[in-house]
C-alpha cells in the first residue's frame, strides 16, 4: 500500500482501485515507481503530479548481455584463427573487444534507463531512447485516450508478469506502447481509473 502522505492531495479522497493495486513495496522497485517525489520532466505543469513512472523489465536485457559476452569472445576466436598474430596485435584485439563489449552493455543500460513511460494526472508520456542518434518523446493528454489494452506473451512474460500496454489515442495512427513493463494490468487499471476521474472532473 502507498502511504497517504505520498499521495497527491487531489487524489486522496478518490475510491478508485488503482491506489490499492499500485505499490512500491515489491520486487519491481526501480522499474515501477509510484508517486515518485524526485522525478520531473520537461514541460511538467505546476499542478501536474506524476502517478507512475515505469521502465521495461530487466529480462529484456538478457539478449543484449548475451551479445556483449559474445563480443568479448570474438578476439579470442580471432587469436585461434590467426595463429601467427603478434603479441601487440593480440593485446590490441583483446582490449578492443572489451571496449566494444562494455560499450554495448552500457548502451543497453542507458537505453533502458532513459526509455521511460510516465503517467501523470494530465497525460501519458512515452520516451524512447532508440540509439545514440535518435530518441522520441511522445505525449498524449488523458482525455485523448480512446482504448487501452495489454498483452502477456511467452513463458518469460508469464513468469515475471511482464507485458505490453497498448494505448490508442484519438489522433490517427497514434498508438502508445509501454513495452515489456512489469504488472501491465495494474497500469491499465490505473489509466482506466484516471480516465474516469478526468471525465468526472475530479482531476
Amino acid at each position: 500500500m502507498i502511504e497517504e502522505k505520498d499521495i497527491p492531495k487531489k487524489l486522496r479522497d478518490t475510491k478508485k482501485s488503482f491506489l490499492s493495486t499500485l505499490s512500491n513495496e515489491n520486487g519491481d522497485k526501480g522499474l515501477l515507481r509510484v508517486f515518485p517525489k524526485d522525478v520531473s520532466f520537461h514541460g511538467q505543469d505546476k499542478d501536474e503530479d506524476i502517478i507512475v513512472i515505469v521502465r521495461a523489465h530487466w529480462i529484456t536485457w538478457i539478449s543484449q548481455i548475451s551479445f556483449s559476452l559474445l563480443l568479448v569472445l570474438i578476439p579470442f576466436l580471432l587469436m585461434f584463427s590467426f595463429t601467427g598474430l603478434s603479441l601487440s596485435l593480440t593485446v590490441g584485439l583483446l582490449l578492443l573487444g572489451i571496449v566494444v563489449s562494455v560499450t554495448n552493455t552500457l548502451n543497453a543500460f542507458f537505453k533502458w534507463f532513459y526509455s521511460v513511460n510516465i503517467i501523470t494526472t494530465q497525460r501519458i508520456i512515452d520516451v524512447d531512447f532508440i540509439n545514440a542518434f535518435q530518441h522520441r518523446f511522445s505525449e498524449a493528454q488523458l482525455e485523448k485516450i480512446e482504448d487501452i489494452s495489454h498483452e502477456h506473451v511467452g513463458f518469460l512474460g508469464s513468469l515475471f508478469d511482464v507485458g505490453t500496454v497498448y494505448i490508442q489515442t484519438a489522433a490517427s495512427n497514434a498508438e502508445f506502447e509501454f513495452q515489456n513493463i512489469p504488472r501491465p494490468r495494474d497500469i491499465q487499471d490505473t489509466l482506466n481509473d484516471l480516465l474516469e476521474m478526468k471525465q468526472e472532473g475530479e482531476i
Partner: protein, 83 residues
C-alpha cells in the same frame, strides 16, 4: 632431372595479410569513439528531459565510460597498428 628435389628445396612465403585486418579495425575504433560521444550528448539531452536524482550518477558513468573508451580505443589502435 629430379623434380622431387627441386620441390623439396623451394620455400613458399605467404604474403602478410594482417594489414587487411587492421583497416576495418581502425574504422571500427573511429566508429566506437564517435558513437560514444554521440551517446554522451544524447544522455545530456535526456537527463534534461526526464530529471531525477539518479541522473547525476548516470551522467558521471557516461562521462567516465566515454573517456575510458576513447583511451582504450586509442591504445588498442596503436597496438593493432604496431602489431
Amino acid at each position: 632431372m629430379d623434380y622431387g628435389d627441386i620441390l623439396g628445396t623451394m620455400a613458399f612465403e605467404f604474403p602478410d595479410f594482417t594489414w587487411l585486418l587492421k583497416v576495418p579495425l581502425a574504422i571500427l575504433v573511429a566508429g566506437i569513439i564517435f558513437y560514444n560521444m554521440m551517446m554522451l550528448l544524447r544522455i545530456r539531452i535526456l537527463a534534461d528531459t526526464v530529471d531525477s536524482n539518479e541522473n547525476v550518477g548516470i551522467k558521471r558513468l557516461a562521462y567516465i565510460h566515454t573517456i575510458l573508451s576513447i583511451v582504450g580505443c586509442l591504445v588498442s589502435l596503436v597496438l593493432i597498428l604496431l602489431g
